[in-house]
Structures are given as C-alpha cells and as structure tokens.
Amino acid sequence: MSDEKQDPGLPGDDGGELEAGKPHRVIGTPPPAAARTLLDPDPAAGSGGRTLLDPAARPGERAPARPETPEPDPDRARRAERKIAFFFLLSALASVGFIAAYIGMPVHTMGRVFHSNLALGSAMAVGFLSMAAGMVMWVRQLMPDVEEVEARKPVASAPEARQEFEQTFMEGAQASGFTKRPLLRRSLIVASVPLALAPIVLLRDMGPLPGTSLRHTVWRRGMRLLVYGSNRPIRPEDFSSPGGLITVVPDGYQDNDTELAKAAAIIIKLAPGQLQPPTNMSWTVQNIVCYSKICTHVGCPVALYEQTTHHILCPCHQSTFDATRGAQVTFGPAPRPLPQLPLMVDPEGYLAAAGDFNEPVGPSFWERG
C-alpha cells in the first residue's frame, strides 16, 4: 500500500514544514532521533557517484513520517468506524452462528454431514474473513498513514568486540586446560563416539532382519487360487471365452495384507495359439496364464488390461507388460517381466498353484541378485 502512494506527497516540500510545525506524531512512533538520521547521505553514490536523487528526498530528512496525513476528516473517520464495527459485529454473529450450527445440526448421514459442513464452514469463513476485513479497514482508514525510516547497523560486531571475544574465549580455553591436556581431550572424544552410537543401536529392534523373506511367497503346490473379493475358487471351465484380467489370491491368505503384498496374482485366459515364448507353457492350464500382480518397478498392483493388445498396465507409473509373451516389459520404468506362477488343476478341478514363483516378485532390492 505504501509503494503506490509514495509519489503524490512530495516529501521535500512538506518535510520542513512538518519539522517546524507541530509534528503529527502517533503513539508508538519514535521522534526523529539522531540514530535515525545516521544514514547514507547519498544512496546513489554506490552506483557510480552520480547525485541523482533530489537532496530533499534524502531519507534522513524525511523521517519520521509521511507528512501527507492530515487530521482524518471526522465524518469520514466516523463512517469508517461504523463500517469496521459492522464487520466486527458480523464476525461475532457468524461465530454465534457456528455454535448454533454445531448444536442444531446433527451428523451421521451423508446428507446431514454435507449440510453441517456447509453451515459450519460458511460460518467460520464469514467469521474469519469479516474479522480480517474489519482489521484491514481499521489500519487503512483510521490509522494515519505513516512511513518511518529506521537505521540499520552493520551486522558484524566491531573489531574490538571480536577481539575481546577471542580473548575471553582463549582465556577460558586456557583455564579449562582443554588445549594443553591431550589425554583429557582425546579421552573425551573417545567417550563421545560410543555415546552417539548407542541410540542408533537401540533402533535395531524396530524390525526383523529381511533374511530371505522377500524371495518367497505363500504359494505352494496345490494351493487354490481364490478370486479376489468373492474368495471363491475357480475352474478353467468357468472362463467361457478369452477375456479380462482376474485378480486371484492364495487360499487361506485372502485377509492377510502382508502376504498378499507379495502373493497377489492375476490370471488371464487367452485364445489358443496366442501364448508365445518366453511364456512357460507348462505352467499354463488351457491357455490360462498366471502372473504376479506386483509391479516389478516399485510394487503397485498392475490392474489395467487391454484385451485387444494383451497389454497389462500398471496405473502408477505406466509400466506395460505383454501378457502373451511372458509379461515382458514393452514400455515404462519396470525392469523385469512379471514373474509367472506355475498353474495346475487340482483333483477337484479347481485352478491351483503348482508351486511358488521361481524368482522374487515385486520391486528390485539389493539382495535380489
């Protein structure tokens, strides 16, 4: 606000008048003390020695105030005061409204929550915004528009002060004997190292060591594939024709998120002849192939399947795998095909795993090899 208004009141003209006449001082504003005139007399001197500023505009002489602030017109001030009061009262009203809405409006259903949120939120917004509006008007319309200049001292201490500090510091160091007693110094350092190590060691029990747990899943020979969601086993005949992607989980682990995070898989039935190497044909059953659902990039579940191209897409980072060719990567950041799960049909005719994945599923890790 102050920037725009700087031009009209030519400070040079009024400054003197102000100093001479009674100053329009405001509570809290300082007198034009000597400290406030300790200013660079020519601000432009740094840029090539030109004296380009009107000397009357020097900040030191402008202090303390933007002089162009006449006594506010009493009528205008009274109007402004009424406006401000209106906003403050509106804010009070809104806050009362907030409390009323809290008491009067129950929740527990979608519709009621919607209305309660609307009422509480609007009341709160009006309460805060009108408070803000009132306060801004208060500053702009009732407070005189002052501008002050405060001197800045260089940040660095005076050389003498620094010297005194150094002296004090060295005296202390001497007195402590830290510099001249190497045994003390070195043993202190030796003591502090294990001291810092201890809290790190303390974190060891935050989790078990990985071991080979990332290399295996719970899939075993004969374990049935359950359709995720319905948890029903599935027969090869249940696929009437080649079609979409079905998510399957190992029987008995359908509610175990930690095991599912590795073991989740997808099955796709393809038309005869579509499956090609490097798909392991002996692991498929009647053109049904099963791949890990966990993306080899960073572990999102692959979920999108385009039937015409047989592309499996991971929605997180768009790694794309070819379902007909052993889920080889055709695009995106995934480095490896989705591992294939060997399938068989169990004695009762349901699809089951013929064993675990023969490689670790999911994202790369150091020990993966």
């Binding site: 805060f128 915004l129 998120d257 990039h297 993966r368």
Partner: protein, 579 residues
Amino acid sequence: MTATDEELGQPAPKALTGVGGWLDDRFRGAKGVRSFLRKVFPDHWSFLLGEIALYSFIILLLTGTFLALFFKPSMTDVIYHGSYTHLDGVRMSEAYASTLNISFDVRGGLLMRQIHHWAADLFMAAMLIHMLRIFFTGAYRKPRDVNWLIGVVLITLGMLEGLFGYSLPDDLLSGTGIRILEGVILSIPVVGTYLSFFLFGGQFPGTDIIPRLYIIHVLLIPGLFLALIAAHLFIMFHQKHTQMPGKGHTDSNVVGQPMYPYFMVKTGAFFFFVFGVLALLSTVAQVNPIWLYGPYNPVSISAGSQPDFYMGFLEGTLRSFPSWTWDLAGHTVAWNVLIPALIPLGLLFTGMALWPFIERWATGDYSEHNVLDRPRNAPTRTAIGVAAITFYSIELMEGANDLIADHLDIPLYTVTWIARFAWFLGPAIAYFATKRICLGLQRKDRELLEHGLETGIIRQMPSGEFIEVERPVSEQTRAVLLSKKEPQLLPIAGAKDENGVPAPGTRGMAGRLRVTANRVISESIPLTSGNGHGGNGHGGNGHGPAEHAAVGAPAHSPEVQEGEDSGPALDEPVPGADS
C-alpha cells in the same frame, strides 16, 4: 486508533502502568519492548508469502490437534459398521475407520479434516513461492544465507510431513504412496532392504507403519518445525527485513511502518484472512475424500492415482525414467528407481542450498545486502531460477501423464517421451530465453532512464524537424531503476599485477572456472551507455558513439526531455525504433 495531540499528552491508563510495572519489576522490559513495538517493517505484497506459510503452519497445529483427539493410529483390522453405509461390513484398519468416524460422526470433523489438508497444501505452496521470491530478489545474500539454508530444510521437512500426514488415514490412494515409498527404499544399495524392514517392522505393509508415521507426523517433525521456524523468524527479526528498491531505500536503513500498531493489526488481519480462505475452501471444495477411495489393501488400485502436488515432482521423475537396472555379482542396483527418486530432487535441493555460496564465489561480492534486486538485474540468477521452475513443472506435469493423455487425447507413451526430452530441453530453453528477456528489460530500463517516458506528443523544431516530447520518469521510478548494481568483473584468469603476482582466486583450474562463471554471471547492460562497455554490450543496434557521449553527459537529462536541447534529441527516434 488515531491519536489526537491532546491524547498524546495523556499518561497511559492505570491498568497499563500497573500491569506493565508489575512485569517490568520482574523482567525489566520497558526499553526492549518499546524498541520492539517501534520496529519498522517494510511493506510489499511479496513479503506476505512467508506469512501465509507461517499462518498455515499455525492452522495446521490447531486443526491437527483437534484431529488427534479422535484419530486412532492403529492398523488393527476391524469390520466397519458405521455411518458411511457404503462400506458397511468391509474389513479395514482402525486408522481408516476412525478417519471415517471423524468425517461422518464428529460434528465439524469433516471441516477440520478438510482445513487440515488444504492448509498442508497451502503451507507447501506458500513455502515454495516464498522461496522463489527470496531467490529471485536475491534476499538470500549475505547476511541471510543461513536463514536460506533453514528454509531449504523447512521445505524438505514439509514434503516428508505432508507425505506422512496424508498416509495416516490408510486409504487406498495414500497406501499406494507408501507402497511406492517402500519400493524406493528397497532400491537403496546395500542397506535398502534393512531400512525398509526397520521402518515397516518387517515386510510391507505389516502393522507398525501407521503408528510410526503418526508419531513422526505429530511429534518429531512438528517439533523440528517449531524450532526451525522460531530460528527462521528470530534471524529475520534480528537482521531486520530486506526492502524493495525505492526512493530513500538504502542498504543501511529500513523504510516502512512500525510494528505497533500497524504491522500487528495488519498481520493479525492476515492470519484471519488465511484461516477464512481455508475455511471457505474446505466448505466448498472437497479434498481427499478417503471414503471414496476405500481402505488400503495391497491388491487394489485405482487409475489416475496422483499424490498431493508437492510429491508430484517425484512421481513425474519415477514415471519418465527408463528401466535401467544392473545385476552385478548377485546384487541388483535399481537405477530405474534410485536415480529418479534421489537425483533430480537431490540436485534441486542441493543446488538451492549451495547457490548463495556459488553466486558469491562467482561474483566476488562479499558485501552485505539489504535492498533487494530486481530479477532482471541479475539475469543469470533469474535464468537459473526459471530453468529450475521449468524442470520442476515438467516433472510435476509428467506426474499426471495419464490424466494429460486422457484429457488432451494424446497417446500416453507420447506424453512420457515428450517429458523425457523436456527434462533436458525445457530448462535449457528457459535459461536462454529468460536471460535474453532480462537483458532486454535492462535495455528498456536504460532507455527509460536516459530518455524518459514517451508522451506521444510530437513537436516541430524551428529547423522543421519533428521530435517526440519525453517526460522524465518519477522520482520513485528513477530510484528503482538506479538500484541496479553493476557487476564486478574479476581479473582475467592468470592475470598478474605489477609485481607479477596472479590475482588471488583466479589461479589454476578453479580460477579459470571461477573467471568463466564470473563472466557469465556478470553479463549486464550498463545503466548508462557510452562508458566503453556499452557499444558491444547490446549487439549493434544502431547506436553511434557520438550519441552515447552526448547522452551520458550528467546534467543533460531535464533539458533533453523538454525537447529544447536539439542536439541529442534529434537522434531520439533511432533508439526508439529497435525497442
């Protein structure tokens, strides 16, 4: 309130002297508090950006405390039978169930959740934009470089705090984010698997991650935030705020309005304004509707999964990086994850942290700065900043490549390929374009300073020639234009003084590099033409040497602008033609 002269003479009311005296008897604060009340704050709209961040943080503390009264950071399985009937009978974690409870069964709970989430987004956005303001105006220069570093740490912490916070409800969207976090941690060579197992208490997802993220989110990081924000503000206060260039604004003063009552009321109003806007947003704009996403399980996913915007950069780098991995001696190095997750953001933040020191090294400018730069007057810095913004924005957009492909009907892979090239081309183009624009604006400034504003009034001279009457710029504008500091050229690499001693800091390889950097960073259009540097500085646009000599004469401006001094004014249309 305004104070009339009569009121000024009045003593302070009894209540004030009583309480004040009681306090002063114990803490001796009269002098210190008085100078605190008098403290002058410069005014500029861009100085409010940091305040937005500060107030968002306070609002986060307030709303977060409310949410913590009801939230259960537990991954125990429960079967939901609550008010949100669409999820009746669904297995979910207690964390997710309690978030549903906050949304649908606690009055004002949904509002507080939404304000908390919006405030987090605003907090990050305000910090980032505040950081850009500091960068482009050079406010990070000595003595404020340490405060700049604190700012870099605050932004980094903000990203972590936000990520951990929005993961707490254990919904499908955020759980997928945690899964990606696990993948990123696993990719760290040697220790990655161990770090992941320690963080998750075993295999992903386990049952420990939500309680652990919770305590980090509500205690550890907010504690660090409080300490660092306090330091950030104290340093700002102690060093006094920078100011924009203007009439009477120098490196050794502060021009503005005093703390009491002006700044106090204004900043109080601003707090209410920020809170009011957040309340309004949370009333009308739904954010993070976790009930629509459903509870997390590692088997499900929804398409179009985007994180909050401040993590979008990382999402973009992960999406666009190719699938490079190494299998070496039984070990896997996942460059495809490691590089995009760590390097681009690492470069950006390390570059940010080191920039004040790199710039000081290249410019040789070790002095204290309190008046801000206009971005155009530091073309290299501005160009680097815009290049960084471009880089960030490309990754942010690539983080939504599926949505871009969907909405703009561009093949998905094409979007990614464009992003892969734009990684490199975008920042380079932005750098060169910005630098040229800055230098062009400098030329325009010089024009303004030397020739004033074109009034559009054409006057015929006695000799029959026509000239355009030009009006000198206002005092304020003039002061702003003159705030430009001419860069200091370091001596040529290996140059020796009269004693045959090479100039310090320019020796050897590092010296040559430094001088080269100095030449790049010193590229500038001098404020006054004709001082020997000017002619070749702006690429042969028709200025003759004779004209420069005349224009550079010190006392000549007012006359020229009145159009009475026919000599140099005759040439005026020529420089105007190329602008």
